[in-house]
Amino acid sequence: MSEPSKIVKTIASIIFPPTMVFGIYVILHGHLTPGGGFQGGAVVASAITLLLVAFGTAEIARRLKESHLSVIESIGALGFISLALLGLTATFFYNFLAGSGFIFGRIPPFGSNPGDMNTAGTLPLMNISVGLKVIAGLFAVVLVLAFVARSKGGGKR
């Protein structure tokens, strides 16, 4: 496989940071703006995929192991289900943080306002765990596809 040109590499390096920031923004603001854990996670995973395309599979695969990704994925899923289980004082998925004054516990202001990050209780935390799971899961899929493509088409080109 021929090396991607300098243009591809440069543009990828320029685009990568803003894409990451945007993805993390979508995850963290999931309870205020359109988007959330899944959408933001997909954006972040696509940013890492960009690196994969521009700099080749070998470099990325040396730093990121598939087994590490599966652990991150499990942690994300476990975070989600534990947050739901913590609500069992009332019911499963009960939002025990909303309005409690603790983290993300402020009551949202009434009327039109720029949006308060520190509201919505467990929802932002759940968004973060879903985001973690989606980043790890989607990237594992892309990584496996890249390996397959390399092992199949590597000999010809």
């Binding site: 599966s70 899923a77 019911t91 499963f92």
Partner: protein, 513 residues
């Protein structure tokens, strides 16, 4: 803790599935132990839940509400949260799924020794269990769709898990395609209903549905999706592939998923749509489809050479019997012989699950001992595998509806009620059942009797741990066959009563009547 049972029965399998990749890093033995403990806990929770439902009536669980029973927020008078609503039918299906999942897990622990990636296998198995149980407990249309998807995706991954032939992969992809198409049909109809009534809650929808064109369209789409998922002709072709190619523990769980789709059919038809929708040709269509399914299942069993495929086609025919009962009940209404038909259909869900499950476990034992499933290359196994041969005999008598076994009890109810509707229907059903018996006796002869083959001399019964699930299912078959009235009184009748009482299902959530 008792009030949280409906949530825990879903949460525990999900938690186990997500923990599996981490647990698997510690040690394989610990992973097996963990899987076993968790399935045991789920089974206990399920039994407690069924006991609660039978002693207290319909159980409601509102997710995220301050109180589990608070279905409608005080400021609104409509149920906006996701609600689990468990009535007699849901409890019955929980029992069916738990029997299958428990025996499957028991069988899987010793069955897989040398396979790699087993943590993913157990994770998927528990996800599938969560999906199946969710479908059976939920009282929310969209939630039903979500659990349907969870079950389909994990099931198709599981079917293609142990790839020893290319057909395995094909079966997995076929299952995925059929399930996705079915799920999209279902989603479209949920969208139609939501657009019309602004509600996703099943009770709310059951109250508001009238006889409009959109409602009819939604019903047809839902029926299409669920009949596909239940393996009814002409969309039965995925079922023999999936059942025959998957490893036996997976097949048991896929059977549970198929029965959960059948449950969905019963719930949609009789609780949500039945009283208000009037489509004249629908009952006749359902009966016709069920007869075609029985015919295809029985005749296709005849020409199979592979043991598991033959059993799988018999499974197609069994689904046809269940649908025949449902169709008769739709035709006659749930009273008189219609009620008997429904009773037979629901009882047959349990019996079919147990019989087919046992047959597939036996096929798995034969495969484990001989590494061979082609019936032309098998023979004389009864000399070396006595226990397996006896359990196969029990299962074949049960699934072809012979008197001392459980299959007879439910099939008799179906014959009786279809005879009241039209004698020809029951004659076709009985003839197909006799045909199945003949085929199964032939299969038994060619696999277990006859001269001993030289290359199969070292075939042995499977290890004791794998005999236990087979023994459990055999005892259940004989027990339900000798005392069918016990199961009918304790389990089937509450299920039928809860289907008759559609108003009770609605008023439990919204109040009034």
């Amino acid at each position: 803790m008792i009030q949280h049972l409906p949530a825990l029965i879903i949460a525990l399998p999900l938690l186990t599935a997500f923990l599996m990749p981490l647990i698997g890093r510690i040690s394989p033995t610990f992973r097996k132990l963990f899987a076993f403990i968790m399935i045991f806990l789920v089974a206990i929770i399920g039994i407690l839940l069924v006991h609660e439902v039978h002693s207290k009536g319909i159980i409601l669980y509102t997710f995220g509400a301050p109180q589990p029973g608070e279905t409608t927020p005080s400021s609104l008078k409509i149920p906006v949260r996701i609600i689990f609503e468990i009535d007699g039918l849901g409890a019955f299906m929980v029992i069916v799924s738990i029997i299958l999942a428990f025996t499957a897990m028991f069988y899987a622990l010793p069955y897989f020794k040398e396979e790699r990636g087993l943590d993913r296998f157990y994770a998927l198995l528990f996800l599938l269990l969560a999906g199946i149980l969710g479908m059976e407990l939920t009282g929310d249309m969209f939630n039903f769709f979500v659990f349907l998807e969870i079950a389909s995706i994990s099931a198709s991954a599981l079917i293609a898990f142990c790839i020893d032939r290319s057909e395995t992969l094909e079966a997995g992809i076929k299952y995925l395609a059929i399930s996705s198409i079915g799920a999209l049909f279902f989603l479209l109809s949920v969208g139609l209903l939501y657009g019309e009534y602004d509600a996703l809650n099943m009770a709310m929808l059951a109250k508001s549905i009238s006889n409009t064109f959109i409602d009819k369209m939604a019903l047809i789409l839902i029926l299409g999706a669920l009949l596909m998922k239940a393996g009814i002709a002409p969309m039965h072709m995925w079922l023999p592939d999936a059942y025959a190619e998957a490893s036996p523990p997976v097949t048991l769980c896929v059977i549970a998923a198929t029965q959960a789709s059948m449950y969905g059919l019963l719930r949609m038809i009789f609780t949500i749509f039945h009283p208000s929708i009037d489509i004249a040709f629908l009952p006749a269509l359902i009966i016709a489809l069920s007869l075609i399914t029985i015919g295809i299942g029985a005749t296709m069993t005849l020409i199979q050479n592979r043991l598991t495929r033959a059993i799988a086609f018999a499974g197609v025919a069994e689904m046809g019997y269940i649908l025949l009962g449902v169709g008769t009940a739709m035709y006659a209404g749930i009273k008189g012989y219609g009620e008997v038909a429904l009773e037979g259909a629901i009882f047959h869900v349990l019996n079919d699950a147990i019989d087919m499950g046992l047959l597939f476990l036996v096929a798995g034992s034969v495969y484990l001992a001989t590494r061979e499933l082609d019936m032309n290359n098998l023979g004389g196994l009864a000399r070396r595998m006595r226990f397996t041969a006896i359990t196969f005999l029990i299962a074949l008598l049960a699934s072809s509806g012979m008197p001392p076994m459980n299959g007879f009890a439910s099939k008799l109810l179906i014959y009786e009620s279809t005879y009241a509707l039209n004698p020809i229907l029951s004659i076709i059903a009985i003839l197909a059942s006799i045909l199945m018996l003949a085929i199964f006796v032939r299969i038994f002869y060619s696999v277990f009797l006859g001269p001993e083959l030289p290359n199969l001399r070292d075939a042995r019964d499977p290890p004791v741990l794998m005999l236990i699930p087979m023994l459990i299912l055999s005892i259940l078959i004989i027990f339900l066959g000798i005392f069918p009235s016990y199961a009918i009184d304790k389990l089937v009748d509450p299920a039928v009563r809860s289907l008759i009482d559609a108003k009770g299902y609605v008023s439990a959530v919204i109040g009034g009547g």
